[in-house]
Symmetry: C2
């Protein structure tokens, strides 16, 4: 294949004990979800020189529809909260990036700016914030609201939220805190400033009461693929985590999103697009297929429906006939892009509801490849060199073996092709991803000039 300059980025998506919804039942998966498991997973990824580990999150358990079904799945439960877990992992890793998901709908910008700044200090510049707007209706009920916030309003709040957070990170200059013992000057007054933000959702004076993060800004990651989601990403995101099934849709999404950057004064390289991929690797195609079938056999129908209801934000799937073809799903205020993706997939592959949940039980709407290392490397390379991706978030079928398989079989193949690093070159997540470090002074001058 023709060569595209540069190398691709790899993230390790760590969800429970594997990305397949039945992974926890697999005899080869970690049989707990303790901290030592996550240390093990993170070290596999760090030893392989991955750019980052990536933690999903949600702020509700989905046991409000009390049915026997839910007890057979994670149902929104997490072993740890991501910011605390990554803080702990920062102490036992040294190079890998640490990306935590946090919601703009159900957090406060001052607290969140501070915790991510702190994680960036703790880790020496390895923090990333995956900004989500929380599409799950059940979250609202945990935060003194009686209904899900409408999709458009969630994105308006997110737009303002991210400005407050990045603004707070810029309320001190990198060299503000001198702690000069002789003169007694702890910090330079003129290098610390208020934010004085007054918006529709937030009024925040600042400054943030923690020094500017080592990376300037922890890397801002975003995942929404709806129209408001893409605009938010184009203006503010530095890495985009997206679900794309086909080469065509990957290229279209990549070109669409990168094409939106210029109007915000940004270059194509200011954002990395990292689709999720669910790779099941075997030494032969048959071995890979057998691994996948072993997971599929552990899938309970109720768990499959539960997952569809959750990801598409459409509770009604629980009551639809499972063996009828899917042509439509109700409109929702939940996550719009995943719902559209499921409909497309069902139409393209002519799937019944049952076939749909089986089809997505592993990748959960992301791209799925079952094959040999060479076949998987071929597919990743194809998307990379055709500008369908700048890298990938690896969603291991079950942990740790799914990640170990990828590291032992696929990574060497990518290296042989010159597509992935042998050693870390930089020390921060921003450096791993090839992103510029933002300057606080220029942000302050831009604000002053307005």
């Amino acid at each position: 294949m023709a060569k595209r300059d540069g190398q691709l980025s790899l993230g390790a998506f760590l969800l429970h004990t594997g990305h397949h919804v039945a992974a926890w039942r697999h005899p080869g998966a970690s049989d707990s979800t303790g901290f030592s498991d996550f240390v093990h997973f993170a070290r596999i990824a760090e030893n392989a020189k991955f750019d980052a580990v990536f933690l999903a999150d949600g702020v509700s358990a989905r046991v409000h529809n009390v049915e026997a079904a839910s007890r057979k799945a994670h149902s929104g439960f997490y072993p740890f909260e991501p910011i605390t877990l990554l803080s702990a992992l920062s102490a036992v890793t040294s190079r890998i990036g640490l990306v935590a998901t946090a919601s703009t709908s159900f957090s406060d910008p001052y607290n969140l700016a501070r915790q991510f700044a702190s994680l960036d200090h703790l880790s020496g510049g390895r923090a990333g914030w995956n900004l989500v707007t929380s599409a799950d209706a059940s979250a609202a009920y945990n935060f003194s609201r009686d209904a899900i916030i409408a999709h458009a309003d969630r994105y308006k709040r997110a737009e303002e939220f991210v400005d407050v957070v990045t603004g707070l990170w810029d309320t001190s200059d990198d060299d503000a805190f001198v702690r000069d013992r002789k003169s007694g000057v702890y910090f330079h007054q003129e290098k610390v400033r208020r934010l004085d933000h007054r918006g529709a959702f937030f009024q925040v004076r600042g400054p943030l009461n923690i020094a500017r993060p080592p990376q300037g800004h922890p890397v801002v990651v975003q995942a929404g693929s709806s129209e408001p989601g893409k605009e938010l990403a184009a203006r503010t995101a530095e890495a985009v985590f997206t679900a794309q099934q086909t080469l065509e849709s990957s290229i279209a999404f990549y070109s669409d999103l990168k094409g939106r950057l210029a109007k915000y004064g940004r270059a194509a390289d200011d954002m990395k697009i990292l689709p999720g991929v669910f790779p099941v690797v075997g030494r032969t195609r048959q071995e890979a297929e057998e691994k996948f079938e072993q997971l599929q056999a552990l899938l309970e129908p109720s768990v499959g429906l539960d997952m569809l209801a959750e990801l598409a934000g459409v509770e009604e799937v629980r009551t639809l006939p499972v063996d009828a073809l899917i042509s439509q799903l109700p409109e929702t205020e939940g996550g719009k892009s995943r719902r559209a993706l499921f409909l497309e997939l069902a139409a393209r592959e002519n799937l019944t509801l049952r076939q749909l949940y089986q089809r997505v039980a592993g990748a959960r709407g992301h791209w799925q490849i079952v094959g040999t290392a060479a076949e998987i490397a071929d597919e990743l390379e194809e998307r990379f060199i055709n500008f369908g991706a700048d890298g990938f978030n690896i969603m291991s079928p079950a942990l740790p073996w799914g990640l170990s398989d990828f590291v032992e079989l696929v990574v060497p193949e990518l290296r042989r092709r010159g597509l992935f690093r042998n050693e870390y070159q930089g020390s921060t997540l921003r450096e791993h991803l090839g992103l510029k470090r933002p300057s606080a002074q220029s942000a302050a001058s831009a604000a002053a000039a307005e």
Copy 2:
């Protein structure tokens, strides 16, 4: 002296590079405030078998009155945010408790319940939450409010907040998550329940989407000594961190607070009272005094006034004549107990404003002892055996040497007297402090019976 049964608890209060406001200028203090410093401090305390390390916090920098003064002090800046810092420390310590301060006025109960539950899981049951209501007016401006929340309202919100948090910790039973691979049952539906809280400040459905913490509840710590503060503590706190200058006030406070427990159905042992103490230890009295004078010599007047303004919530001290006696300070909606304590201290010792800030620059309103190990042990023992304290929070003058001095000189003296443990007996903070583990089932039955 007569013996009181049992041993005292010790906490290590870790503030910047020392508790004296000028500690950071001391040549023997750590010259950075990096993570490795905190690892070092925590390990000194853990090697000495302390019950816990304790981190203060605030959610604003105090640079709103832009004057040259503030740049000479920390002014509300912190090197790390406490929950993230303690999460990182959990990975490199194994026995010591980890207590983080967090505000009920400027946090959300679902998020806070979740982060402390997560810290408790990460640390194997070593988490504690020091509940504060944020007396500093400048915090409000960072959270979309245009004025400080009135003292009474802060405490009403705190009362409801702590009920929601402990309620969320009880939304699953200890044995709810079975993850039974064979049957496919991830959790027992009947051992997980909603909270369905509907109050004046919060509506929270639950359940919390993380398993019940190892300790049942992370230990709830509280510090307020005002009337509403004492009532909140009597109903909900398991450890109380208080500033008491004299033996008499210690005994009065101890007796007052423990006397309030019965009406909430609690026993005297259900709460541990741990006053702060600022010990400056020398091998001789003269050496101790010289150590203290060395710190005092580094104190800038503006920094002293700044600290008084902050702790008493009275900005006006900056404009009062520094060499006049203090007899009154303006009323405030800030922290009431520290203001009263300063006035009492000034009256008892006949202090000018200048003398007052010098007097409290080290202990910041807490008890200060400058002397030999035997003298300090005598004083601690006296308060302990007379039921003025169940233990102490040690506020080291400068770190690490202030803590090392205490550990090397005073701790052996306490051990010789049988007042402090030689080894950890338990593995959780609750066990170190001698506190019962709350049952989720009994909480649920109590709620159902209402």
